[in-house]
């Protein structure tokens, strides 16, 4: 293998990781939420809010990091709304998720037009890339693989932390109980309500970061409806990952690679059936939920409101 191929592979891996990030953030949040029993269909809306608020915050303050904070702050009310509707009011989780997504798509599009008017596609101050000393200087693959912004490393750290918390801590056990046997959790002195609220808010924070990654870390602008289904893909990642942390991360990286191929194959002169590549994650997830890729084990209390 000559250097050209290695560089190309590095480039491909780098863009796969970058394209997987929004999905990965959303999926990690959704994973915790679903493990606690709340199917949070509003990841898409939360990500879009994060992308929008992050971009506007960064534009207004000139500080991408402040934009990140504003993104998280803007998603909190939405996450609390989703939690309040689905946990406190026992509203249908799917219906509220769809409602939030429609509302946010309308709200961000409306606000974007009003705030920026015709100054659309304005370049916003984005997050700098952060290069771990040594790794980024590796010949050929270094620049492609390790010149990512810090959020990439945060995501990988978060994945590890989530896996550990879910597996080894009392909190992880409580989350598991809320999604498996909520009555048992309540009887043993825990609070299903508190755990589920926390899980939905966590999903909101992660989605906000995923959305902000898109607008601040990757594209450096906001466009209407820019998440374009990444939130739903995050959900698909959790399903394909069979509600396990490691497999969910791998699923998202794989989806990122499929997305990267859409851009790379045409660049290499390979006629790529774009639609097939975009469809691939959904087809794989469908095969997974159809039981053709091992047994699926969703949390038993998923989508079920808890009525004490």
């Amino acid at each position: 293998m000559d250097g050209g191929w290695l560089a190309l592979t590095g480039l491909f891996a780098g863009s796969s990781i970058r394209l997987a990030m929004p999905m990965l953030y959303g999926a990690l949040g959704e994973l915790v939420s679903e493990r606690a029993g709340v199917l949070n269909l509003s990841i898409e809306g939360m990500m879009l809010t994060g992308a929008f608020a992050g971009a506007m915050g960064s534009l207004a303050t000139g500080q991408p990091l402040l934009g990140l904070v504003i993104a998280v702050a803007a998603v909190l009310p939405i996450a609390l709304l989703q939690a309040w509707l689905s946990v406190t009011l026992h509203a249908n989780q799917i219906v509220t998720g769809i409602g939030i997504n429609i509302l946010v798509l309308g709200g961000t599009t409306f606000a974007y037009r009003e705030l920026l008017g015709n100054r659309s596609r304005v370049q916003i101050p984005g997050l700098d890339s952060w290069q771990p000393a040594g790794l980024a200087d590796l010949p050929l693959i270094g620049p492609a693989l390790f010149q990512q912004n810090a959020l990439v490393y945060v995501a990988l750290g978060a994945a590890l932390a989530i896996a550990l918390v879910l597996r080894y801590t009392a909190l992880g056990l409580a989350i598991h109980a809320a999604g498996t046997e909520p009555t048992a959790l309540d009887k043993s002195g825990g609070s299903v309500r508190r755990i589920r609220y926390g899980a939905v808010v966590f999903a909101g924070v992660m989605s906000a970061l995923g959305g902000a990654f898109l607008s601040l870390g990757d594209i450096h602008t906001f466009t209407e409806g820019m998440t374009n289904g990444a939130g739903y893909l995050a959900l698909v990642g959790v399903i394909f990952g069979n509600w396990r942390t490691g497999r969910t991360v791998l699923a998202c990286l794989f989806f990122g690679a499929a997305t990267a191929l859409q851009f790379q194959l045409p660049a290499l002169g390979v006629p790529a059936p774009t639609a097939l590549l975009i469809m691939l994650p959904y087809v794989m997830a469908l095969l997974a939920v159809a039981g053709l890729v091992g047994r699926q084990s969703p949390p038993p209390a998923l989508t079920q409101a808890y009525l004490p």
Partner: protein, 358 residues
């Protein structure tokens, strides 16, 4: 009894009617408030809205055609919902219907069929194709217990991208490339495969789908209220275990319910193609599936409710587009209103239940 409590009871008496109306009114008021907040004179916005929604015979026809498609998706939704099945895949089922109908109109020889068969047969194919696509979700539910929300959502994405792919390739549905500016869409379907106008000579694009819709609405009403199948749907929705013990064919009922939901959405796709757009474009379903879902939710199981909410959203969409063009109000305001309606409805359902219990 406090005023609030008596209000609750008054609402609780007719929740099926007052809850959706209340939600719509509140959402519309929020929309008006938003228009005022961004500084557009209210009368300008309303004039633009009225002009686009019902200002001319053309716009009335276009709004009604929209409403027909939305109502079809909504009717299918409430049939499946009677069995406690939520079909969120309307967008994809519309896409499948549109593809089936395009394929038949252009390459399946529909144009050589005599008389009205030329447009009826492709519509039938769209219906069957949409139904079959959605029945997959029913089969998965029965066989492996897959949540139909997840499977219809996945199927929907797959179908939408299948459509996208089909108009990118000339060996599928894309029109022959005569020059580099040829758009990625199908040829226009032959005139005799197009759905004829409902009333001849009227300067209005309203197609015959409106009559078909009314007939189907009556059939669905009878089906839900007076048929054995309607009873089974309800039994499966309320208590599948009891239904099984009573010897009801649960699996068949679930698959059939999903088939009907998808068939209605597929038919909506057929009408959208053969009655309005005439050529298949990459973004063909353009949100009708999602709007149809909102219509179904808003109807709360009633056929009349489906018709009323479909009319509301049909006109709302047309008016919204016109507001954007001539009054400078982003048409996204329609989405905001729709989202608010869904959330208000979902949230207040519990509030009413509690009012009834106390």
């Amino acid at each position: 009894m406090t005023a609030v409590a008596s209000l609750r009871l008054a609402f609780a008496g007719r929740p099926a009617l007052l809850l959706p109306i209340g939600s719509v009114v509140v959402a519309l008021l929020c929309g008006l408030g938003l228009i005022v907040a961004v500084g557009v004179p209210l009368q300008d916005a309303i004039a633009a809205f009225a002009d686009g929604a019902w200002g001319s015979a053309y716009s009335v026809g276009a709004s009604l055609n929209r409403a027909v498609a939305l109502a079809l998706v909504g009717l299918g939704f409430i049939v499946a919902h009677r069995a406690n099945l939520t079909n969120v895949g309307g967008e994809g089922q519309i896409a499948i219907g549109g593809m089936a109908s395009t394929a038949l109109c252009l390459y399946g020889g529909a144009a050589t069929l005599p008389g009205p068969l030329a447009w009826i047969v492709p519509l039938g194919a769209a219906t069957l194709a949409g139904g079959a696509w959605s029945a997959i979700a029913g089969v998965l539910k029965v066989r492996v217990g897959t949540n139909e929300v997840i499977s219809t959502l996945l199927l929907s994405f797959i179908a939408v991208w299948m459509l996208y792919g089909s108009v990118q390739s000339t060996s599928l549905l894309r029109q022959p490339m005569t020059n580099s500016a040829t758009l990625p869409e199908s040829l226009e379907i032959p005139a005799n495969t197009q759905v004829p106008a409902l009333i001849d000579g009227l300067d209005m694009p309203l197609h015959s789908g409106a009559a078909v819709l009314l007939a189907l609405a009556i059939i669905v009403t009878v089906l839900l209220q007076r048929s054995l199948f309607g009873l089974r749907l309800r039994a499966v929705g309320l208590n599948p275990m009891a239904a099984r013990r009573a010897g009801m064919p649960i699996a068949t009922t679930i698959v059939l319910a999903m088939f009907i939901a998808g068939a209605f959405a597929g038919l909506a796709g057929g009408f959208m193609l053969q009655g309005e757009q005439f050529a298949l474009k990459a973004r063909f379903p353009s949100g009708y599936g999602l709007d149809g879902l909102v219509v179904g939710l808003l109807a709360r199981g009633s056929v009349k409710g489906v018709l009323a909410s479909a009319l509301l959203f049909g006109f709302l969409r047309s008016g919204g587009i016109s507001m954007e063009l001539s009054a400078n109000v982003p048409s996204a305001i329609v989405l905001i209103i729709q989202g608010l309606v869904v959330l208000l409805l979902a949230g207040s359902a519990w509030w009413l239940e509690r009012a009834v219990r106390h």
